[in-house]
């Protein structure tokens, strides 16, 4: 294996680059940022649009990024990354990484145009979407990556609606459809797999994209200590998946022989607790359909 690959805690530096921030205790997103920066190191230029991670990390005079960092306009994290990379190149800077962390909203909704532009140009940037399945920083509103049945403040569950009535936008495949050189899905419940993917992205000569599931205890309604457990279970029950896209091929990194019960995963979270069996079977059917396609068309 490549000497630059970081695949476990032993290889990971002890130094912290995102420290003293004000994220909720047990926040999954902050772990996604922390681990990625530990792989990428001090010579990183980090850009974040408005989201929980920028809100908790840039509170002058409490500055939590130890690396260089910038808050980008919400719709334009990828464009700011492109600009940083172009500027660094023109100034002859070497041995640095340009990395962005945007939430699900900042990626799949308002930021998708700029992201598409950057991938299309092939700019050498690492774009990490930490997916907490709603607009958390503004108080848990529905985003394009909110799953079916999730209660958010703009998709309330009531007599008439089960919460969100749409499935997650398929960001990973939308990104892959650009012919990007490297894209991956990950989960902080499988941190070693995530580290490996960040290492791979770091070596990529053009745009790379990682979509990491990062549960939000506050918005999802579970005790903070369970963040890793929930993130792992999302994969184990089949509602999330670990995959890569490179050399124009999709690969499933993890193929469970059987899924853990979806219902258990859902019932651990306040946002799903209102769901009845009918809704749960809608979710299961959608999962099965997705896996059928993945198993048929992707390598594993």
């Amino acid at each position: 294996m490549d000497k630059n690959m970081v695949t476990n805690a032993r290889e990971l530096t002890n130094t912290e680059f995102f420290y003293g921030h004000k994220a909720c205790a047990g926040c999954g997103g902050s772990l996604a940022v922390r681990l990625a920066l530990k792989v990428l190191g001090q010579n990183s230029f980090v850009s974040l649009p408005p989201n929980c991670m920028s809100a908790v990390g840039f509170l002058f005079p409490q500055i939590s990024f130890v690396t260089n960092a910038i808050i980008a306009p919400f719709a334009a994290n990828a464009a700011v990354l492109s600009g940083i990379e172009a500027g660094a190149k023109a100034l002859g800077l070497k041995d640095h990484h340009v990395v962005g962390f945007a939430g699900d909203g900042g990626t799949a909704d308002i930021g998708i145009q700029a992201l598409s532009g950057a991938i299309d140009r092939g700019d050498r940037i690492i774009y990490i979407c930490y997916d907490n399945e709603a607009y958390m920083n503004t108080g848990i509103q529905q985003s394009g990556l909110t799953p079916y049945g999730a209660r958010t403040t703009t998709s309330p569950a009531g007599k008439n609606l089960p919460g969100s009535i749409k499935m997650k936008k398929n960001m990973f495949e939308i990104v892959a459809a650009h012919g990007i050189s490297y894209a991956a899905t990950a989960s902080i419940g499988y941190p070693e797999d995530y580290l490996k993917k960040v290492s791979k992205a770091a070596q990529c000569e053009s745009t790379s994209y990682i979509h990491v599931m990062a549960p939000c205890c506050t918005g999802w309604g579970f005790p903070g200590e369970r963040t890793i457990e929930i993130a792992k279970e999302a994969v184990d029950c089949g509602l999330w998946f670990l995959a890569e896209y490179e050399n124009e091929k999709f690969t499933l990194n993890r193929k469970p022989s059987s899924f853990s019960p979806v219902k258990e995963y859902l019932m651990k979270q306040g946002r799903f607790r209102h769901l009845g069996d009918d809704d749960i079977s809608i979710i299961e059917r959608h999962r099965d359909h997705k896996w059928e396609k993945m198993l048929k068309n992707w390598d594993s």
């Binding site: 420290y19 003293g20 004000k22 205790a25 002058f60 990024f65 457990e229």
Partner: protein, 104 residues
């Protein structure tokens, strides 16, 4: 332990002394997060097998692996309990703040 420390920050007395631009030095911490904790994680070093899982998954990076044994930076540990929940051998206990080590 090798973790960032809080520094003293003196507010500018004159507007002219503010930075040019909404810009400030990286990694500048002026307050701890220890006040957030209701429970405090305590590592039982005898039980610990140094698998580093807690170091890996702490969202706040408050567990340091540079020494002989793992150390928690109580200035920045928020007491979320992730480490204790994830420790496979049960080497981390969450003890109520203000109570003694045995939780009394």
């Amino acid at each position: 332990m090798d973790r960032p420390k809080v520094v003293k920050y003196k507010e500018p007395e004159r507007a002219e002394d503010y930075p040019v631009g909404a810009t400030f030095k990286a990694g500048h911490l002026v307050q701890t997060n220890s006040g957030w904790r209701t429970f405090r994680p305590i590592i039982d070093q005898d039980k610990c097998i140094k698998c580093l899982r807690c170091f890996l998954v702490c969202p706040d990076g408050a567990i340091d692996k540079s020494g002989e044994s793992l150390e928690i930076d109580y200035d920045f540990c928020k007491g979320c309990g992730v480490c204790a929940h994830e420790c496979k051998v049960g080497a981390i206990r969450m003890v109520k703040e203000g109570a003694d080590e045995d939780g009394r």
